[in-house]
């Protein structure tokens, strides 16, 4: 309680300020007061939670799952094989420099308005942090420890599982935390570009109805999704790294 006191105070203050400013400038269609958003959220709760949340959640989870599988596999491959590293690492890095997401409108043309075009956008935006963090984490393991394992006759596999994986965990989880938050953004952007349901779509659509409170309401839900995913990652992280708590 005491720990989060200051944060709670600031949040309260910010909400109060928002309510106040919003009432003063009185343009609810672009800047609704939080109370208005809350009311609208309540009114829309069924549509939001039952119709739009599931499709956005599906995009986020599928996108994350694909990114994790692909990103971790690629990172492992690059750590295992120097040729793979030399071939792919520059590509992964420079692929990130290419704002592939700017090509998202074209993916939509390619993959259609179904879930896949949005999953592709989500994967594109989350793949990089997972791959690079996992790879850097695997590489970050102490050279001394790896050498020691070698002298004990450890195989590449042993070194991988007993030294590199534990050393990579903190990095992997950092990457996953970034990816989780980006996945929410990716799904929302994907939905802007063409969709039939989803929270991002709904929000955008309410823009066209000048219903400011209804623009914010799905964002609130998206935030809840983001926070929930983040907390899940945090719990997994602290469960799998008990020894860190000692510090």
């Amino acid at each position: 309680m005491k720990k989060y006191g200051p944060a709670a105070l600031i949040v309260l203050f910010l909400f109060g300020l928002w309510e106040l400013v919003s009432r003063i400038i009185n343009l609810p269609f672009i800047f609704p007061p939080p109370s208005g958003v809350a009311v609208r959220f309540w009114e829309l709760k069924e549509t939001l939670v039952l119709d739009h949340l599931p499709s956005t959640l599906a995009i986020i989870l599928l996108g994350l799952a694909i990114s994790i599988v692909l990103g971790v596999s690629l990172a492992v491959w690059m750590v295992m094989s120097e040729t793979a590293e030399r071939a792919f690492y520059p590509l992964v890095i420079s692929s990130q420099m290419i704002p592939t997401i700017a090509l998202a409108p074209i993916f939509i043309m390619f993959f259609g308005y179904g879930i896949w075009s949005k999953v592709v956008v989500t994967v594109l935006i989350t793949f990089f942090p997972i791959t690079v963090n996992t790879f850097d984490g695997l590489k970050s393991s102490s050279r001394e420890l790896r050498e020691l394992m070698l002298t004990m006759g450890g195989t590449k596999k042993d070194i991988f599982f007993k030294v590199q994986v534990p050393s990579a965990k903190p990095h992997f989880f950092s990457g996953l935390k970034v990816a989780v938050t980006l996945s929410v953004i990716g799904a929302a952007i994907g939905e802007w570009l063409g969709a039939q349901s989803g929270l991002g779509y709904f929000s955008r659509r309410m823009m066209t109805q000048f219903d400011g409170a209804a623009v914010f309401a799905p964002i609130v839900l998206l935030s809840v999704v983001g926070i929930a995913l983040f907390l899940i990652v945090k719990i997994m992280e602290s469960k799998s790294m008990k020894w860190r708590k000692l510090k």
């Binding site: 343009l27 409108p105 308005y113 969709a195 823009m207």
Partner: protein, 313 residues
Amino acid sequence: EEGAGEAGGSEEMQDVSLMLDWYPNAVHSFLYVAEEKGYFKEEGINLDIQFPANATDPIGMAASDQVTMAITYQPDVIVARTEQNVGVKSVGTIVREPLNRVVSLAESNIKSPKDLEGKTVGYTGIPLNESIVKTMVEEDGGDPSKVELVDVGFELNSTLISKRADAVVGAYINHEVPLLEFEGYQTANFDLTEYGVPSFYELIAVTSDKTWEENPELIQAFWRAAEKGFADMKANPDEALDILMANQETENFPLEEEVEKESMAILLPLMEGEQGFGYQEEEPWQETADWMKETGLIQNDPVIDDLYVNMPE
């Protein structure tokens, strides 16, 4: 960026920013003609023309006073005003009948709205277009619930030719349709008004309540210049076209002269009513609002008088 300042000071130039409904094309020729010929200058107006990135930006930007005026769609103004109390009102019509069509590639073999059953229709993200499709399919004896609608943003033509949708609604008879033909695609299109949708004003000019209250002279001055521009455009469409072509956004939005020429021919008869350029009748406002209420686009009863004002003669 609001062009306020003290009202009507004829010496002082006042800034007016105007957001178009779309990229400059034939329908906007009158503006460019008036600008080119100095009609706006004569009225003491510095005109700054902007283009929107999203279909609803013009109303939003006008309502939040990011721009002085905007060109937009009549049904949108009704929704904004009656449902959300957005303080915008129409100050003149530009195109008096729907240009909006349901367009499909000829090869899709869609002969009437009924054939849309089981097909995918792309729209620009404005719910109005959903209602249009519903009304048309129903009127044609089909089941609107069997039509799948997807929001495709502004990407109407690319959606169509990449076959991501079988038809699109929101495409204009004077732009997308000739453009598709120009690119070599055979199309079929349906006129909304033939299938139960009332004839609404396709394009109108809006300003915020605030601007209208504080500085009606400015809007009137703008409109006088616009009318002069339109008169010239009507009298000499070729010259108007040349001026437009000279003012086009060459790199971002290059215009095909042929397409624009065709567009001009389609547009001219639709831009002037019996009472002249810009004059708004009550009937289309009332009819459109009634239809919108019927189809559930709006829940509240609109106050028609708040929706528009006519310029004094």
